[in-house]
C-alpha cells in the first residue's frame, strides 16, 4: 500500500512529526489556508521569511514550515519582520501570531507598521483569549465574559482589530473565521501579492480555553457559531449596532494601493532632495 501524504506536507519540515495544537484548535485550518495560498500562487518556501512571536499560533511557522523562520519574543514579531524585510526587500515576509501577541503587548508595532505601509503580510490569529497561558482575558475577549482573570465578568471592551489596522493605514485588511477557509485563502493570496502592509485577521476557535469559558463548548459548536453569526461587511453596513452585537463581521475592510515604505524610501533618495547634499 502506498503511503498517502497530505498535498501540503511538502511545505513542512520533514523532521517535524507533530504539532503542539490542542484537539479542535483552529490553527490547523489557518496553517492550511496559508500554505494553500502559497501553493496556489506558485511560490516556493524560499520566496518567504516567516516571523512569529509568542503564543499558540506563533508555533505555526516555527517549527512547522520548511523555510527561514524566526521565532521571537512576545509582541515583537512585526518589529523583527520590519528589519528582515528591509534587509531582504525581494522576499515575502509573513508574520503569524496571535491577538494577544500582536494587539496587546505588540499593539504599537502593529499600528506603526500599518501606518508605514511596509510590505509584509500579517496573519493575526484571533481566538479571543490567552490560550497558551491558560485562558486569561485578552484585548479581544468579549465584554462581560468570565475568564480566569475576569472572574466577575470582563469589564473591558474588545478591540476591533481589523478596523484599527485599517484606520492605521494598511493597504489590505480582511477578516474571516475558520469556518471560511476558502475566503481566507483568497485573502491571504491578495495580502501576499499586495505591495504594502496587509493583515488577515483569522477568527479561530480555541475550544480548550475560549470554548470552556464562553460555554460555547466544543470546536464543532464554535464553528456552528461562525457559520450562523458570520456576516459580510457589505451586509453589516446596512444593519444597526444592536443587531450586530453577536455577529462577526467578515470580508475585506480595505483593499487599496498606495506608496510602500521601502520603495518610497528608495524613490525619495533619487528625488529632488535626495540628489543634493
Amino acid at each position: 500500500m502506498s503511503e498517502k501524504t497530505h498535498p501540503l506536507r511538502k511545505y513542512m519540515r520533514p523532521q517535524v512529526k507533530k504539532t503542539t495544537f490542542c484537539p479542535g484548535c483552529g490553527a490547523g485550518i489557518i496553517t492550511q489556508a496559508l500554505l494553500r495560498a502559497i501553493d496556489e500562487l506558485g511560490l516556493t518556501m524560499d520566496d518567504f521569511v516567516f516571523v512569529s512571536g509568542i503564543g499558540c499560533s506563533a508555533w505555526i511557522p516555527s517549527p512547522l514550515f520548511n523555510a527561514d523562520t524566526l521565532h521571537t519574543t512576545h509582541g515583537r514579531p512585526i518589529a523583527f519582520a520590519s528589519g528582515v524585510k528591509m534587509g531582504l526587500p525581494d522576499k515575502h515576509v509573513i508574520v503569524v501570531s496571535g491577538d494577544g501577541d500582536l494587539s496587546a503587548i505588540g499593539g504599537n508595532h502593529l499600528i506603526h507598521a500599518a501606518r508605514r505601509n511596509i510590505d509584509m503580510t500579517v496573519i493575526l490569529v484571533n481566538n479571543g483569549i490567552y490560550g497558551m497561558t491558560g485562558g486569561q482575558t485578552a484585548p479581544t475577549t468579549p465584554h462581560g465574559l468570565i475568564t480566569i482573570t475576569s472572574p466577575y465578568g470582563n469589564a473591558e471592551h474588545e478591540f476591533d482589530i481589523s478596523s484599527l489596522v485599517t484606520a492605521a493605514g494598511a493597504s489590505y485588511v480582511a477578516r474571516w473565521t475558520a469556518y471560511h477557509p476558502r475566503q481566507m485563502t483568497k485573502s491571504i493570496k491578495k495580502g501576499i501579492e499586495k505591495k504594502g502592509f496587509a493583515m488577515i485577521e483569522a477568527i479561530t476557535q480555541c475550544p480548550v480555553q475560549f470554548g470552556r469559558v464562553s460555554k460555547q463548548g466544543s470546536a464543532v459548536n464554535m464553528m456552528k457559531n461562525y457559520k450562523e453569526n458570520g456576516i459580510r461587511i457589505e451586509k453589516a453596513a446596512r444593519m444597526d449596532a444592536s443587531e450586530l452585537l453577536v455577529k462577526i463581521v467578515e470580508g475585506e475592510f480595505v483593499d487599496c494601493d498606495k506608496p510602500e515604505l521601502i520603495s518610497s524610501s528608495a524613490a525619495a533618495l533619487q528625488g529632488p532632495t535626495g540628489g543634493s547634499n
Binding site: 519540515r13 523555510a67 515583537r76 523583527f80 534587509g87 522576499k91 524610501s265
Partner: protein, 384 residues
C-alpha cells in the same frame, strides 16, 4: 544590497557622535534603526542623511524596543546592523538584547550614557549603564562592551565593535558617555584600505536541522535568511541545530553555557587595556572619559615624585580580571575612578582585595568629569 562604504577619509574637527556615525559607515553597516534620545540623537541624525547614500537603509522606529528588534531582523537578513540609544533606551531594549545573545546575532549597540536613574538629566553624561548592559536582560549571558574616551575612539571603537560582533556573533556595546558623544576634537579617519573589517562566516548549504548552526564555542557560521538555507531560529532554548528543546536538561545547560564560553574562551583576544603602572605603588583604574583625568593626575603625581600608574579598561566586558589582578599584585593600592557611584568597583575589588588596598573615588559632583587636581589630592592623602 551591497555593503555601505563611503568613508570620509581625512583629518576632521568633529563631534564624537558624528565620528561614531562615520565609524558605522566605514564598518560597512547595512542597516540602522533608532529612536530619538538625548544625548545620542546626533548619531542617528547623521546616519539618516549619510547611510542611504552609502548604500545602507535606515528605519526610525516607534520605540527602542522596535529599534533593537528591527536591527536583529536585519542582521538575520545578512546585513551588518546597528542601533544607538542612551540609558532609557537600553532599559527598553533589554529583553531583546537577550534574544540577540540567545540567537547569536551580530549586532552593534552604541550607548551614549546619561545621568539617571529614570529620565534623569538627558544632556549630562554619566557612566550609568555599565552593569545593565552586561546583566540587565534576564538569565545568564555574556556580551562585549568597549569604552571610548575621545571622539577619535568613537570612530575607532565603532568599527571595532562591528568587527567583534561579526567575528563572535554577539551584541557588542560601545559605552560612550554624553561627554564623549558631544565632545569636539581632532578625528583622523584613515583611508579605506587602512580600515580592517571582519565579516561574519556564512553557512554554505547543507540540510536544515542537520547543520550545527548554533552553540559552537568556536562560533558557528551564521545561516542567514534569503539563501534557501531554511534556517530555524528561536530565542527559546534550542540545540546546536536550532531546534526548540524545552525538556532536555543537557540542552538547557548548553544553551546557556556555550554562548558564554564562546566569549570567555576568547577573552585574551577580546580584552584590551592600557597598562602604564610598572613600578607603581598606586594604580589608578578607570575607563571612558575619566581615563583622561586619570592620566593627567598620574602625570602630575609622577612629576611630584610619587610612584603612580594607570590602568585603563578599554574593554569593560568580558571583564579584564587578569589585567586588574596583575596591577593589584604589583602595587600597594588600587584607586578606582568612575563617573558613577561605583558600578565596576565590585568587579575590580573582587580581583584586587586579596593583594592590595583598594578604594573608590567618584567625581566631586556626580555627572562631572573628575578634576585631575581632585584626584591628585586623593593620591597625596593615600600616599602620605
Amino acid at each position: 544590497m551591497g555593503e555601505a562604504r563611503q568613508i570620509n577619509t581625512g583629518t576632521h574637527f568633529m563631534m564624537g557622535n558624528q565620528a561614531c556615525a562615520e565609524g558605522v559607515i566605514a564598518a560597512g553597516c547595512g542597516f540602522a534603526a533608532g529612536y530619538p534620545i538625548t544625548p545620542a540623537s546626533e548619531v542617528f541624525n547623521a546616519l539618516a542623511k549619510q547611510l542611504p547614500k552609502a548604500g545602507g537603509t535606515l528605519l526610525q522606529t516607534e520605540d527602542e524596543i522596535s529599534a533593537v528588534c528591527a536591527a536583529i531582523g536585519a542582521s538575520w537578513a545578512g546585513l551588518k546592523s546597528f542601533t544607538v540609544t542612551s540609558g532609557p533606551g537600553i532599559s527598553l531594549m533589554q529583553e531583546n538584547i537577550g534574544l540577540a545573545v540567545a540567537t547569536e546575532t551580530p549586532l552593534v549597540i552604541v550607548d551614549v550614557q546619561r545621568l539617571g536613574p529614570s529620565t534623569g538629566v538627558p544632556s549630562v553624561g554619566m557612566a550609568g549603564d555599565m552593569v545593565q548592559v552586561a546583566r540587565g536582560s534576564h538569565g545568564d549571558y555574556q556580551i562585549i562592551a568597549i569604552c571610548p574616551e575621545s571622539p577619535q575612539e568613537m570612530f575607532d571603537m565603532t568599527v571595532q565593535a562591528f568587527n567583534l560582533a561579526e567575528e563572535y556573533r554577539v551584541p557588542v556595546f560601545v559605552m560612550a558617555e554624553g561627554f564623549v558623544g558631544h565632545m569636539r576634537e581632532r578625528v583622523v579617519i584613515p583611508d579605506e584600505s587602512q580600515i580592517k573589517l571582519v565579516h561574519r562566516k556564512i553557512t554554505q548549504g547543507g540540510e536544515p536541522l542537520t547543520r550545527r548552526d548554533f552553540l559552537d564555542p568556536e562560533v558557528a557560521p551564521m545561516p542567514v535568511f534569503g539563501r534557501g538555507l531554511k534556517t530555524h531560529v528561536t530565542s527559546s532554548c534550542h540545540d546546536e541545530y536550532g531546534m526548540r528543546n524545552l525538556s532536555d536538561p543537557d540542552v538547557m545547560h548548553r544553551y546557556i553555557m556555550t554562548p558564554i564560553e564562546k566569549i570567555l574562551g576568547k577573552r585574551d583576544r577580546i580584552v584590551e587595556v592600557e597598562a602604564d603602572h610598572e613600578g607603581a605603588k598606586l594604580v589608578l583604574v578607570s575607563y571612558g572619559v575619566v581615563s583622561r583625568s586619570s592620566r593627567q593626575a598620574a602625570a602630575m603625581a609622577r612629576a611630584a615624585g610619587l610612584k603612580v600608574g594607570t590602568l585603563r579598561l578599554k574593554t569593560a566586558w568580558p571583564f579584564p580580571d587578569k589585567e586588574v589582578r596583575a596591577a593589584a599584585e604589583s602595587a600597594d593600592f588600587i584607586l578606582v575612578l568612575e563617573n558613577n557611584t561605583g558600578q565596576m568597583y565590585p568587579y575590580i575589588k573582587a580581583e584586587s582585595a586579596h593583594a592590595c588596598k583598594i578604594d573608590f573615588l567618584g567625581p566631586q559632583v556626580l555627572g562631572q568629569i573628575h578634576d585631575p587636581q581632585y584626584i591628585l589630592a586623593k593620591i597625596r592623602e593615600i600616599m602620605k
